[in-house]
């Protein structure tokens, strides 16, 4: 089937809000090439479980597509139209399983050496879209906070090497009450600017006490879901014909109820958390990977105004089966290696924050928990400087934010 054959009734199995959304745009979709449409439908089919920022962006993208004249549509999608697809891809159920199509499309593009052409087409499309659909600016400057090194001794290697050139390095932070001060600052922002999914706290261990205005995700809190996932993986791996690709497909189909989430109070957040575990690589076994990936996905999808990420020690590397099986209580932790992971994770948090609108006004703070070192990056902070003045965490925040 090709997009020209689309009819409203083909979307009958979509979740209610997604079905309603796509119904208005079927004529628009009919004009677009198959190499592009399933990637859009992959977003549409998840509409009911998307964060507000994502919904708004998707609505704007669809509205823009429908506003294009036939000539403009041709120009915008010429490169996508030139991608050669296989008959298997055309015959697949890309309306109801767009994610599966996109995965198969990726393999097809690699195999037929069309990946670069697709990449060029995608980048060209993104550039055009950026030019006409302006992203929403944040209502307040964004603030990213990363707390690293829980339980680690001072590192032999210098910390924050990638971030120091972009901001100010502090060597004499007063650590007492630091975490509480950071959480309070986040809570204050959430209280003053109540935006749904606008203020986040992600913890690589067990979440510390925090204000309920913060959207919270923690590795420790997902322990039962991780356990359920491990059990599923262990039993699925033993099934005949199972391989890495089939396992990935099976995991992508898992829903919150499959991993023990009950009585959903927040289906959007539940689905987000399940995706962290089923689509992230290594998020199930290393808490540092979990914290970094959760932050990346929160920034990419929810586009928060405030984000505090606290890394915790990850388990020591062991054979995969043992790591999957080990509970947090029995894990053998590796704080020194976790500090290295988190230091890089902090850099990635900053990079991902910079990708959001209003980056020229956004600020980042990274603190070595319980110690004297921190780095702060923001419009008011001089780049590549070092301060050895005694500084409280509150002062640090006031200069950065």
């Amino acid at each position: 089937m090709l997009p020209a054959d689309l009819k409203p009734e083909l979307f009958a199995a979509y979740p209610p809000q997604a079905k309603k959304l796509v119904a208005s745009y079927v004529p628009t979709l009919q004009r677009l090439p198959l190499a592009y449409v399933p990637s859009l439908l992959r977003e549409v089919i998840e509409y009911d479980f998307k964060f507000p920022a994502e919904r708004k962006a998707l609505e704007k993208e669809l509205a823009n597509l429908s506003s294009l004249s036939p000539e403009q549509t041709k120009t915008w999608f010429q490169a996508f139209s030139q991608i050669q697809l296989s008959s298997e891809l055309e015959k697949s159920d890309w309306v109801n399983a767009p994610a599966q199509f996109v995965e198969n499309l990726s393999a097809h593009l690699w195999t037929t050496h069309q990946l670069d052409a697709f990449r060029t087409a995608a980048l060209d499309y993104a550039d055009r879209l950026h030019a006409v659909v302006l992203p929403e600016p944040p209502t307040i400057p964004r603030l990213g906070i990363t707390v690293i090194g829980q339980g680690a001794a001072p590192s032999e290697e210098p910390l924050f090497r990638k971030l120091r050139p972009h901001g100010a390095y502090f060597t004499n932070i007063k650590p007492q009450g630091g975490l509480e001060a950071l959480l309070k600052a986040c809570a204050d922002r959430a209280q003053a600017h109540p935006i749904p999914y606008g203020h986040w706290y992600i913890d690589g261990g067990d979440a510390a006490a925090h204000d309920s205005a913060l959207t919270c995700v923690s590795y420790g809190g997902l322990g039962p879901a991780r356990g359920a996932l491990s059990e599923k993986i262990r039993s699925d791996i033993e099934r005949p014909g199972m391989g890495p690709e089939a396992l990935r497909t099976l995991m992508a189909r898992l829903r919150p109820a499959d991993l023990g989430f009950t009585a959903a109070t927040d289906p959007v957040l539940d689905r987000f958390q399940v995706k962290l575990l089923t689509e992230g690589s290594g998020t199930q076994i290393f808490s540092t990977t979990f914290a970094q990936w959760a932050a990346r996905e929160a920034l990419r999808r929810a586009q928060p105004h405030t984000l505090l990420v606290r890394f915790a020690p990850r388990q020591r590397q062991k054979p995969m089966n043992e790591m999957l099986a080990s509970g947090r209580e029995s894990a053998d932790f590796d704080p020194a290696a976790s500090l290295v992971d988190a230091d890089m994770g902090a850099y990635y948090n900053w990079l991902n924050l910079q990708r959001l609108t209003g980056s020229e006004r956004s600020s980042s703070v990274v603190w070595f928990e319980g110690h004297n070192e921190a780095v702060a990056v923001g419009p008011a902070l001089p780049r590549g400087t070092t301060s050895d003045a005694s500084t409280s965490v509150e002062q640090l925040l006031s200069w950065a934010a």
Binding site: E43, K60, T112, E245, G282, T288, Q292, A337
Partner: protein, 387 residues
């Protein structure tokens, strides 16, 4: 919406040139290499007096980026390459892989000189003849003269292709050290740390198997007793260390003329822990130096061996929003496609760096020119600077 497709900061060509220039500038200052040019011409005179030449290829895998290796901040991770090997090398600062960036298929492409399109996760042979098949057929060499030591289940078919002019029993013997260990330790669970497989999907841990054939390899060919093998394995910390242990045994007992070693420890990066990725790079750096030391000390290899070291490909750039930095090699961006290669040993000019772009597929025809076979089906071209 926007995050599905994001724009790069510069063109791929500009980025590739930048990476090459960064490596070159570093090598000029830190390793005192000269800049090569066509004026230097070929190394033909150096080749004239190499008796019974042997070639060893090491893939520096699975995938490392410049910023953790050749960039200033990464140099601390590759002290052996920098201090011991690069000064003795001809170094190519821009090797581009235009194929599929999966480790098995990319390694198969390196071995055939054709961008293979086999499923990275299926147990399939390459579709085009491998260097091992050309080598054995053209030079009428026995099976014992071409070996592959490979890290994981997926590589067990890499020794020979499905090409109708070549194929079964005409290629290299493939040894999977993890299978050997599993066979040697059928009843025990002591070596799980050495049996890790398939980093690209960290959660998928396939059952490894070992059988009597593997045990026969151990005893008959490698002259290793079960007990010696097992007790030595106990002292090792990674699958690549196990591979290098087997390589050294192969060199000592069989001394193959064409030996291919695929390293894989670095690919632990897929699990997302930066510290483990860095550990993998440092270990691979050390193991490359160990192999070179073995080349210099084994009488069958000393002074007649050319060693190639090259990554199969890189990893995603930090600034590509479609990826997650070092963790994967999924975006197909310029950084993940642009790597390097060094050649050292017999017939190789020391201390020279070349900037011009090479293709990953150029390796096989170059091996052909060195060893005396014709890579008829390869898409690459012999690297004149090495000939």
């Amino acid at each position: 919406m926007m995050s599905r497709f994001l724009s790069p900061q510069a063109t791929p060509r500009a980025l590739a040139t930048h990476f090459a220039a960064t490596r070159r500038d570093f090598l000029r200052t830190a390793a005192s290499l000269a800049i090569g040019s066509t004026v230097l011409g070929s190394s033909r005179l150096l080749h004239a007096a190499i008796p019974k030449r042997k070639v060893i290829v090491i893939t520096f895998g699975g995938g490392a980026r410049d910023q953790e290796t050749f960039a200033p901040e990464g140099q601390e991770n590759i002290p052996h390459l920098i201090r011991d090997l690069i000064p003795r090398s001809t170094f190519f600062s821009q090797v581009v892989n235009r194929g599929i960036l999966g480790h098995y298929v990319a390694t198969a492409s390196l071995a055939t000189g054709v961008y293979e399109t086999v499923n990275n996760f299926a147990s399939l042979p390459p579709e085009h003849p491998t260097a091992f098949e050309y080598f054995r057929k053209d030079l009428k060499r026995p099976a014992s003269d071409a070996w592959v030591v490979a890290p994981s289940n997926g590589f067990n078919r890499i020794g020979e292709s499905s090409h109708r002019a070549y194929g079964p029993s005409t290629g290299a013997r493939v040894i999977l050290p993890k299978h050997l260990l599993k066979a040697a330790n059928a009843a025990g669970q002591d070596y799980e740390h050495l049996l890790r497989d398939n980093y690209e999907t960290p959660l998928y841990a396939p059952q490894l198997s070992g059988n009597d054939f593997e045990l026969e390899q151990l005893g008959m060919l490698l002259k290793l007793s079960l007990d010696d093998f097992k007790s030595h394995a106990r002292t090792l910390s990674s699958p690549d260390e196990l591979s290098v242990y087997i390589v050294r045994q192969l060199m000592r007992e069989l001394a193959p003329s064409l030996l291919w070693i695929t390293m894989h420890d670095i690919d632990i990066a897929h699990a997302g822990a930066y510290s483990l990725y860095i550990d993998g790079i440092r270990r691979t750096d050390r193991l490359c130096a160990d192999i070179w030391k073995a080349v210099e000390t084994e009488p069958e290899y000393a002074r007649k061996t050319t060693l190639f070291i090259l990554p199969d490909f890189g990893r995603d750039a930090d600034d590509d929003a479609g990826g997650n930095g070092f963790q994967h090699h999924r975006t197909g961006d310029t950084l993940s496609r642009t790597t390097w290669m060094m050649a050292l040993g017999a017939g190789i000019r020391e201390g020279v760096v070349f900037d011009r772009p090479l293709d990953s597929t150029d390796l096989v025809p170059t091996l052909g020119s060195m060893l005396g076979f014709t890579a008829s089906y390869s898409q690459g071209k012999p690297i004149q600077e090495l000939l």
